[in-house]
Assembly symmetry: C2
Homo-oligomer: 440 residues x 2
């Protein structure tokens, strides 16, 4: 694992840097915007995640001997660009949506202001982090809505790259999950961890009873026993015989869950274990969770579907130049013209308009120039969506670390409360609220 994040960069960013240093455009002030053109997968809202991670990676975006040697040896850039990178430190500003905030098509999720040279090279790192984490958080939020008051645990590490697994646990927690199986996520971000035993535990022992007895001795009767290694009904009976009616919980990892959960609940109750909880963990996604709403299930463990974004593994955000200075120092809004990928040029300010506390639109005020725009005064019921994350190179530490995660989780809960009821349905649809552009 590299200590520097500086080579998590597509080569073309450095070749552009190199050429811009030669022709003098490197020093032109620029505004880059990170946004999504649409909500992939027919999602009704998106959830911003990764911002806090990105800020910390930005601190580590420095070029040491190893990175510079590689760029020199591979002839990626020439001596002038190497000298620039050797002293690189982002001195611009970044404003953006709070982590945990909702977003819609065209929401200016991050606005990066600086020279072309210092801002263009952050494209890949910013997109890698935001696209992955936001895809997971968006799926997780839908699952959290489907689960209602029942706790959700993320346990999909094995179905994601080992570092993405840690980021996924973090994103799921921000979007409403209560815990993760991933210990590194617990250590790095302070997320509660959970887990007791796998099928291997039962198979290791000569009998299921031996396995249950040993687990109870080690972890106490409050533990959760996995009861579906052999026959589930026998598993329930053995569990209660060994643990008594104070057994904390049983876990079911296979079968037709509504049927099996009802059977297990009935048998537990017959045996007097009326407070023993049922956790289910078999290939759940938001639809399966919703289908279990009427079943006697107490909590859910979700793996593959949450870490892979439940069919949308990347949020599809892009990082585009939207305004720049010309040779005379005047500001120009710019956008690619190709019809199928049109972007809207200009610097944006964003507000969520509300009516009696319910969101009605994503209001995006577009400015030709570099001046900060504010239409908040004209929209007294609108909530301003952008905060200053980096000010003249100074990263606001409040958004980083475990504290940043907790703040993002709290903010997500508040932002989700504003959604209209139609946003909570799981089926494919247009975005729950329209994006409205106005001139600033």
């Amino acid at each position: 694992m590299p200590a520097s994040s500086a080579l998590h960069t597509d080569r073309y960013e450095f070749t552009m840097l190199d050429a811009a240093l030669r022709d003098g455009t490197a020093q032109r002030r620029c505004v880059f915007e990170l946004f999504g053109r649409r909500l992939s997968g027919g999602r009704r809202f998106g959830v911003v995640a990764g911002t806090g991670r990105l800020l910390t990676l930005l601190r580590d975006y420095r070029f040491g001997d190893e990175e510079l040697r590689f760029l020199r040896d591979e002839k990626v850039v020439d001596a002038q660009a190497l000298a620039f990178l050797e002293n690189y430190r982002f001195t611009g500003s970044i404003s953006g949506y709070r982590e945990g905030e909702l977003y819609f098509p065209g929401s200016p999720i991050l606005t990066v202001e600086g020279t072309f040279a210092e801002a263009v090279i952050l494209e890949t790192l910013a997109l890698s982090v935001l696209n992955h984490d936001s895809a997971v958080a968006t799926a997780a939020s839908r699952m959290s809505i489907a689960a209602g008051d029942r706790p959700l645990a993320e346990m999909g590490s094995r179905r994601a790259g080992e570092e993405s697994a840690v980021a996924a646990a973090r994103a799921a927690f921000i979007a409403g999950f209560g815990a993760t199986s991933n210990l590194e996520a617990g250590k790095r971000w302070g997320i509660p961890t959970m887990g007791t035993a796998a099928h291997a535990w039962t198979l290791l022992h000569d009998t299921e009873e031996d396995a249950f007895r040993s687990q109870i001795e080690a972890l106490g009767t409050g533990t959760t026993l996995l009861i579906d290694t052999y026959d589930i009904r026998t598993g329930v009976e053995t569990a209660i015989r060994v643990a008594g009616t104070d057994l904390g919980g049983v876990r079911i990892d296979s079968g037709d869950l509504p049927t099996v959960a009802a059977d297990v609940r009935a048998r537990l109750d017959e045996l007097g274990a009326t407070s023993t909880r049922i956790t289910v963990t078999s290939d759940l996604d938001e639809f399966a969770i919703a289908a279990l709403a009427a079943s006697p299930v107490d909590s859910y463990g979700v793996g593959t579907s949450v870490v892979t974004g439940s069919g949308v593994p990347t949020a599809g955000m892009v990082y585009k130049l939207v305004a720049r200075q010309d040779a005379a120092g005047g500001w120009v809004s710019v956008a690619k013209a190709s019809t199928d990928k049109g972007s809207k040029g200009g610097r944006k300010a964003a507000f969520r308009t509300l009516e009696r506390g319910t969101a009605t639109s994503e209001l995006v005020a577009v400015s030709d120039g570099f001046e900060a725009v504010s239409t908040a005064a004209e929209h007294p019921d609108a909530r301003a969506l952008q905060v200053l994350l980096v000010d003249g190179g100074e990263i606001d530490a409040a958004y980083e670390g475990a504290d940043g995660v907790l703040a993002a989780r709290a903010h997500h809960e508040v932002a989700r409360e504003e959604l209209p009821v139609r946003a909570l349905a799981l089926s494919r649809s247009d975005p729950a609220i329209p994006t409205v552009y106005v001139d600033a």
Copy 2:
């Protein structure tokens, strides 16, 4: 980024370790197997990738003060387990498929032999690496088949978590891609890197001509110019006017590619730039690549679809206990009984049977005991699929690093040559060859 990989582990592995140390089963010798029950997404074959990365992560699977303190403070395990982890070093053996090898349902991709204690805790790390990297490699191999002799470049870093992006570049290279945009992958694994300019480069300049002229001055006429920022036909003309007919290439990132590529080729030829190459990079997957086979395209850049496994973002492999010693030291084959997730107990040896050089089956010989099985003598045309990766704790360095990547890429090419023609089709299907189980 942690220097240790030891907490890329699901909590339940350590709670099982803890309980097994208490009840004495921790020292039972075990065989765990990493395999896929099916090929997700109707794939006709799978490609093993990640093995070399896993071996290096296994070297770093050590518990330092930081990891131990977390486990103690969070009460994940007790003092006895902490002492075990403090001195942890994997002393068992791992045999498995070569990286780059093909796999089918039930292929014993990795076989991990050791005590329960030392082997059970590797589950999550092994699956994270193999599931992610194999999903990418499988998609990449299909793209490589579709592209035929035309070069493929991986440029999807922005659509994957920042570390998964590096692993994806590596997996795609193993499966037939020729280059990546990801510089960290170049530095870490020696993969060729590529890339010249984004739309931001053109938008930064006052005119497209200024941008092209500057890029040519910096990178020479052999560079590739991105011609679709404004009007593509004008872009072609400007490119050749500025660069001359020796221009290396043009890149098209939007539009209906078969139509646009044909137009651009015709215009380039009219202008005399008959050797200027055309690269296309707009939302390609294996199907889009196949559809361009008759178009005048010289190379492909693939982003989102390759790093997200083209609809199958995780390979869905599992890590299961298949054999263990009992209290008396005898060997017992074990498997979970639940009908919908049945695994086949017992230690496996695997061979690919061939007829005149073409694969006909995945032959899996199942042994009740711990003894090495060999049915190779009975199948003279069969190729043995497993190699020893870790021998009594000693990791074979030949499979690691940049050399390991090159060996895996070469091996993939050889293994793919053995596939029957029907395996090369892109549509959903059963596996190209059947998995046949025999008793060893």
